[in-house]
């Protein structure tokens, strides 16, 4: 009885008694959700365009952030470091296409997936080789003050991060819907064979999606890095993208965004209100349990296409 009360009643009483605090928790959760969304977005882009589940996406976030912060530490200005890092990510895309995807074309998906695990290990090692394994502080001039809206406290950095993420998503949406390359990308995602026949060069498409995914990884990396410092545990945070994908569906851009927000907000709220009951650390596993529940009831995710295996 006592337990039931503490699980089903007490948390809601707390929420009711201090609504401003609840809103703060919710907003904080949504903000970290935005980060998950960005990482998941990179996964979705590559998965849609090439059917490859890119295990290395999390490491790409780290790798991009490492390069960026490394360049800054060498005394390069932000405005030069940013395009340089973008160039590095594009170069990485060329290398991945030439050295991994092209030789493995027409191989089963599992082979390509394994190959991305290889890419992940390589990038992790290569990053450490280049820039060392220390935690690096990243300061890109994002304001660290807080605003008060009524009683609710809002981190300015969270607002900036959200704004940037929103702009990024809008730009990507426009890119996909309006430009010819975007249309070609959608076409490839829809049907490879048909895309080949109309003369869409698949290799170029792969380079473009990996570059875009690299760019998204860079943005995500800078955001995370500015919050937590650039360190190797970033890649573990990035793994949260997996439950986000299960929630949102592997092929849906809106799914990645909504999934990220749900996971972010859900785990924060669970941690604050239900955490004490089990001794905390709900944040660590909440996302995975949620994903598990989803796998039972809606395996295609919130927005994913229904997967029908034909016999």
């Amino acid at each position: 009885m006592e337990t039931l009360h503490s699980v089903f009643v007490q948390p809601f009483i707390e929420i009711w008694q201090a609504p401003a605090f609840f809103v703060e928790v919710l907003i904080g959760g949504l903000m970290s959700g935005v980060m998950y969304s960005l990482v998941a977005l990179g996964f979705v882009l590559i998965f849609k365009a090439s059917g490859v589940f890119n295990f290395a996406q999390g490491i790409m976030v780290l790798f991009a952030a490492l390069n960026f912060v490394g360049l800054l530490d060498l005394g390069v200005s932000i405005w030069l470091a940013l395009p340089l890092t973008v160039l590095i990510m594009v170069a990485l895309s060329f290398a991945v296409e030439r050295l991994v995807l092209r030789p493995l074309v027409n191989q089963p998906h599992i082979i390509l997936f394994m190959a991305t695990i290889g890419i992940a290990f390589f990038l992790e090692g290569f990053g450490e080789l280049l820039w060392g394994g220390d935690v690096r502080k990243l300061d890109v001039g994002i304001p660290q003050d807080v605003w008060f809206v009524g009683e609710v406290m809002i981190q300015q950095s969270d607002v900036v991060a959200t704004a940037i993420a929103v702009v990024l998503v809008l730009v990507l949406a426009l890119f996909f819907q309006v430009t010819r390359v975007g249309r070609a990308l959608r076409a490839v995602a829809d049907d490879h064979q048909a895309a080949l026949t109309v003369g869409i060069p698949l290799q170029h498409i792969w380079i473009i999606v990996w570059s875009v995914a690299g760019f998204v990884a860079l943005v995500a990396g800078i955001m995370w890095g500015a919050r937590l410092g650039v360190q190797f545990s970033l890649s573990i945070v990035a793994l949260k993208a997996l439950p986000v994908l299960i929630l949102g569906g592997f092929t849906s851009v809106p799914g990645a965004i909504v999934g990220g927000l749900i996971v972010g907000a859900g785990e924060k709220i669970a941690e604050i209100y239900w955490g004490p009951i089990v001794g905390g650390a709900i944040e660590e596993w909440f996302a995975y349990v949620l994903a598990l529940v989803f796998l039972f009831f809606r395996p295609q995710g919130l927005f994913g296409e229904r997967i029908i295996e034909r016999v």
Binding site: R180, R186, D190, T197, V198, G199, I207
Partner: protein, 264 residues
């Protein structure tokens, strides 16, 4: 409009001694024929005669073990599908290969992907010429839409269209590429009589209005004989007849091949 390079009886494509086998199964054996500029050329034969294989060889999906394909005067043994597209070969498929999640308009627009002079990678940034090129492409695509009378489904996702219309959209996507050679893989398969008549009219009109050379394959003799200038007949991977529809119709080997095979 008759293309600049349509010079009377000029040969656009020639296959010479083409053989193709999968494992031990022979799909094509020493097949040779030509396609003249501006004509409608049919490749017919009972099911399993090797017609689709022939189309796939021309289009670069399959690479023959021996023999050559000479296209626009240049002989080649291997060609990738996307190179074929760039060289002016467009095609449709027997089992429609459209982008089902995209609209009719977007599908046809993809047909113009290689009609682009600006660099594809730079184009990703939507810079420079790409915007005005996009306008020109859209204009051309609107003519195709008008031509095929599919204005009403411009914005409809292709996956939601009935079969006959999907075939038409696929033809539209091929036309958008302004091909020199249009390959049609069983364009009338699975259609009712009315849809077949429409498709025949479109094929004839494409040939007439744009001067496009058309090679089409069909297993049903009836319709094809009415619209083709010349017909090649394949049976078990070999060429058994080649000539005008009348000549082919009278050919004893053709009659035997068709009578000997149950087909729909």
């Amino acid at each position: 409009m008759v293309g600049m390079d349509a010079t009377g009886d000029g040969i656009l494509l020639e296959s010479d001694g083409v053989s193709l086998s999968f494992g031990g199964v022979i799909a094509l054996e020493n097949v040779g024929f030509d396609v003249r500029r501006g004509e409608i050329r049919a490749i017919i034969g009972p099911n399993g005669a090797g017609k689709s294989s022939m189309l796939n060889v021309i289009n670069g999906f399959y690479h023959p073990q021996s023999g050559t394909i000479t296209y626009k005067g240049a002989a080649r043994t291997q060609m990738r599908p996307h190179e074929a597209a760039v060289q002016g070969i467009a095609r449709t498929f027997q089992n429609i290969a459209l982008f089902r999640g995209m609209s009719t308009l977007d599908n046809i627009m993809t047909g113009r992907v290689h009609k682009i002079r600006s660099n594809f990678l730079l184009d990703a940034l939507y810079l420079g010429r790409s915007r005005s090129e996009e306008m020109r492409n859209r204009e051309f695509v609107e003519h195709v839409i008008d031509f095929l009378e599919i204005q009403s489904i411009r914005k409809v996702a292709v996956g939601r269209l009935p079969y006959g219309l999907q075939k038409r959209v696929e033809l539209g996507r091929a036309l958008a590429a302004e091909p020199d050679l249009l390959l049609l893989d069983e364009p009338m398969a699975g259609m009712n009589v009315e849809e077949k008549e429409d498709m025949c009219r479109f094929i004839l009109d494409v040939n007439e209005e744009f001067g496009t050379t058309i090679a089409l394959i069909e297993h049903d003799m009836g319709v094809v004989m009415d619209i083709s200038d010349r017909v090649v007949v394949l049976d078990y991977g070999r060429k058994i007849a080649d000539g005008t529809p009348d000549e082919v119709r009278r050919d004893q080997r053709v009659i035997d091949a068709y009578l000997g095979v149950v087909h729909g």
